[in-house]
Symmetry: C2
Subunit: 196 residues, 2 copies
């Protein structure tokens, strides 16, 4: 039994791997189930033993990605939030975030591109926003001073941060996580220096 589940797992993984390889070169729309089967060297019928359709396949990969990233962020939150000041904690959080993004860069690059699926950046941002919201709401001085709807503040700051990540990933990680952290801090302080 456990050998079969292992075999199932490997077949499923093979399909996912082959699919992601194709996504680097072709649009999601233009990839057929037949194509996937051909690349993975399995029968087309076998595909349907593991996935409902190609949308389900993408859904599962996306869900996996969010789970892994989410778990990693949660782990970081508990490590850093208590030991340092809020500002310093934010910085280290950002640094660690760039690191976990780095691990998922190949997948993210595809999902954010025109080869991916519409609305991915919304789902990505929503997932990220939720983490940031929890983190910010734990800080009392932050909440006391914020005079704009949290919803819009989150939209602004998470979009900005993910914008950096998007650029970084598109540039094939041309910088280290540390450099990205410095970059992030520099931009914030540049904005702070303006009109004072």
């Amino acid at each position: 039994m456990s050998v079969y589940t292992e075999k199932n797992r490997r077949t499923k993984e093979l399909i996912q791997k082959s699919f992601m390889e194709m996504l680097e070169k072709k649009t999601f729309d233009s990839i057929t189930v037949g194509d996937i089967a051909k690349t993975a060297k399995i029968n087309r019928g076998t595909f349907y033993l593991h996935f409902i359709d190609k949308f389900d396949l993408l859904d599962q990969i996306e869900l996996q990605l969010f789970e892994e990233l989410g778990d990693h962020i949660d782990q970081l939150q508990s490590n850093y939030s208590s030991t340092h000041s809020f500002e310093k904690g934010q910085e280290q959080l950002a640094a660690a975030l760039f690191n976990s993004i780095k691990m998922q860069a190949p997948l993210l690059k595809i999902f954010l591109s025109e080869h991916g699926r519409a609305g991915f950046h919304l789902r990505f941002r929503a997932a990220f926003s939720e983490k940031v919201r929890v983190n910010l709401e734990g800080n009392e001085s932050f909440n006391a001073n914020l005079n704009v709807p949290m919803e819009y503040f989150l939209a602004f700051i998470t979009s900005a941060f993910l914008g950096l990540i998007e650029q970084w990933v598109q540039n094939n990680l041309d910088k280290t996580s540390e450099e990205m952290t410095v970059l992030y801090i520099d931009i914030i302080s540049f904005i702070q220096r303006k009109n004072n």
Copy 2:
């Protein structure tokens, strides 16, 4: 002759209008050319007299949108950039931008959603970035003080701004353009107030 071109124009417009109506309720993938023809009450063959395929249809609408928005922004740039200080000009530019977005809100809402096409937000941001880049490069003190790659700064600031717009459009324009401008300024100054 001009009667024929007019008739062509109206049929083409009818197809586009019907298509956009469907996009509010269904995914782009799931919409067939047959569906579009049915909704527009035209023959399926007629569709192919005006568009290569449904991708071409979407491309043309997207291109139109970018042209209209781009023209509007250019118009604003020339109006505001010369008459006021840089900071004040930026504010008024933002205000006018929210206005022009408002006019295209229904289209934008769909294109940014999961009903649209993958990568739209990238193309949208690229177009917007280009406008902002030209504007910023005209300001010498800005360039002198910026110590991060322009590419990344643009990614950060345009993503942030478009994040606001995205939220606004998703909220069905729950605020006026003026309120959005205030919101934008408030967020910037909130960030400026932090860690000083």
